[in-house]
């Protein structure tokens, strides 16, 4: 058990080292969600003038979407990095080591929970500077739980695809799916203002629950009524994508 924790920790440190040693590769993932928040607010900000929007501040309405984008991009990057390790043979060397595969996978995907703190911190700092509402202590706590947890979910998805295709060329596929999971929600406007078909999709998309949970702190007050579905959704998605990634790592080399 102690050895497993040590291996997991070492793999997480290795993932963090990449950010420090190749900062150029990390910068776009850190900056992009912030530019997304500001860019989308500038592009679609006038939507708040549409009747029925509720007069909310658009940057605060949009913030939860870009918070999850931080997590999505970070998780996707984790998957792409794993694909690179597979291509270069590094992961094969790990596989022959006397370490359970679940530990190897755990080290890779849990690193996303730490790495996401960088874009998350940057996004919140820039957001508050540009008028984002402070969600309160409870809202911030919710952000610090849900966003890293969703990064792990995204990393599990990324890892499962990386293990399936075994090439970095799978990167856009990883990113596309995670991106769409986040955007097929009430991302641009409240459910009632979406086109009927998108409203129907958003209602069954589990990520919408996470966005609504995060949004409550930014546009009103955090309530348990919106928090527990968000927590439950992330847990469920984590179990599903975690199982998918675990299946992938167990089948590798067989």
């Amino acid at each position: 058990m102690t050895q497993s924790i040590a291996v997991t920790g070492a793999l997480m440190r290795r993932a963090l080292n990449e950010v420090v040693r190749v900062p150029g590769a990390a910068v776009p993932g850190v900056v992009a969600p912030t530019i997304f928040l500001l860019g989308l607010t500038a592009a679609f900000g006038k939507l708040t003038e549409v009747r029925g929007f509720g007069g909310e501040d658009y940057i605060s309405f949009l913030a939860p979407v870009t918070l999850l984008q931080c997590a999505g991009f970070t998780g996707a990057a984790t998957g792409v990095n794993l694909a690179r390790d597979i291509e270069q043979g590094w992961f094969d060397r790990l596989l022959v080591a006397p370490t359970p595969r679940v530990v190897l996978l755990g080290g890779v995907v849990l690193s996303a929970a730490l790495r996401v703190l960088l874009p998350l911190g940057f996004l919140l700092t820039m957001g508050f500077a540009f008028g984002l509402n402070f969600p309160g202590v409870d809202g911030m706590l919710l952000v610090l739980i849900l966003v890293p947890a969703y990064a792990v979910v995204a990393a599990c998805w990324g890892a499962s695809i990386a293990l399936r295709f075994r090439t970095q060329a799978a990167g856009p596929l990883i990113q596309s799916v995670m991106f769409m999971f986040i955007l097929f929600t009430a991302s641009y406007a409240p459910l009632a203002l979406l086109a009927p078909w998108l409203e129907a999709v958003a209602r069954v998309n589990p990520v919408n629950q996470v966005i609504e949970g995060l949004r409550s702190g930014f546009v009103a007050e955090v309530s348990w009524h919106e928090t527990w579905p968000a927590l439950l959704t992330v847990l469920g998605m984590g179990l599903f994508f975690g199982a998918l990634a675990l299946r992938g790592v167990r089948r590798t080399g067989q």
Binding site: G24, A25, A26, V27, P28, G29, A32, P33, I35, F36, L38, G39, L40, T41, A42, A43, F44, G45, K46, L47, E49, V50, R51, G52, F73, A77, V80, N81, R84, F165, T167, Q168, A169, A170, G171, P172, L173, Q175, S176, F179, M180, L183, F184, S187, Y188, A189, L193, L194, A195, W197, L198, E199, V201
Partner: protein, 255 residues
């Protein structure tokens, strides 16, 4: 030279179609984004100052084509970077292949993807009720502008690949595609953008290209918009070509 360019372009096109990982982001992602934008911001049509259009899809089609063109350019760059990583480019450099052909072959494939993209989005638009007001001439104009735009964005992807030589670095530029698109009038009318997008869009070549492509869809072909679009393509292409040349020279010196 021509034979080498054609052969390498064919290889690149085959590579794109053989790997769903390459074709999916170019076609699938902008298509899904088009759906999300159309479904999510549909109510924007009621805003004062929004252009008179038959439907929000008509307005968004040009944006989707532009987004797809940029993604095609970046994806071409990723494929080139993978070729560099795998040593394929080194083998070409050692072979009696004209060096510009190595880049031109990849760009030719990106241009061909542009033809496919314009056909795909026009077909999609027609299926879901959009129309091209300028008729056949409008369709032909779009079929010329979109591949040219893809080619221009391809030069930028090529420059990145030659400079970095690593697919992960080129791939990390992927999210920035959306930034360029959102800071232009590709998805929303320039007059209704808030600052700073409003000011940036006035100078963003993407705005010129998107408006030139949108022109025949929502109205008629106008010389001013078409020329502005061609100017935007020329600006992107010139910058990308210059950067590609510099990066190729740097890479050749290094090898």
């Amino acid at each position: 030279m021509t034979a080498a360019v054609v052969a390498l372009a064919r290889r690149s096109i085959r590579q794109t179609f053989r790997r769903p990982q390459f074709i999916a982001p170019i076609l699938l992602m902008p298509t899904l984004f088009l759906a999300v934008n159309t479904g999510g911001a549909d109510s924007a049509q009621t805003l004062p100052g929004f252009p008179d259009v038959d439907g929000f899809l008509d307005f968004e089609l040009a944006g989707a084509m532009m987004q797809a063109s940029m993604l095609a350019g970046i994806t071409g760059g990723i494929a080139l970077a993978i070729d560099i990583e795998m040593g394929f480019i080194d083998r070409l450099l050692a072979a009696p292949v004209p060096r510009p052909a190595i880049v031109l072959g990849r760009l030719g494939a990106t241009g061909a993807m542009g033809v496919l993209l314009s056909a795909w989005f026009l077909a999609l638009g027609f299926v879901f009720g959009a129309s091209v007001h300028a008729g056949v001439a409008g369709v032909l104009l779009i079929a010329v502008l979109v591949p040219l735009a893809a080619l221009a964005f391809g030069t930028v992807g090529t420059a990145l690949a030659l400079w970095a030589g690593r697919a992960s670095v080129v791939q990390s530029v992927f999210p920035l595609v959306f930034v360029v698109v959102f800071m232009s009038s590709a998805f929303f009318p320039r007059e209704l953008l808030s600052e700073p997008a409003n000011s940036i869009a006035d100078y963003n070549p993407m705005s010129f290209i998107a408006e030139a492509v949108r022109d025949p869809i929502i109205g008629s072909i106008t010389a001013t918009e078409t020329l502005k679009g061609l100017l935007g393509i020329a600006i992107v292409g010139a910058i990308g070509t210059a950067l590609s040349s510099l990066a190729l020279r740097h890479r050749l010196r290094a090898t």
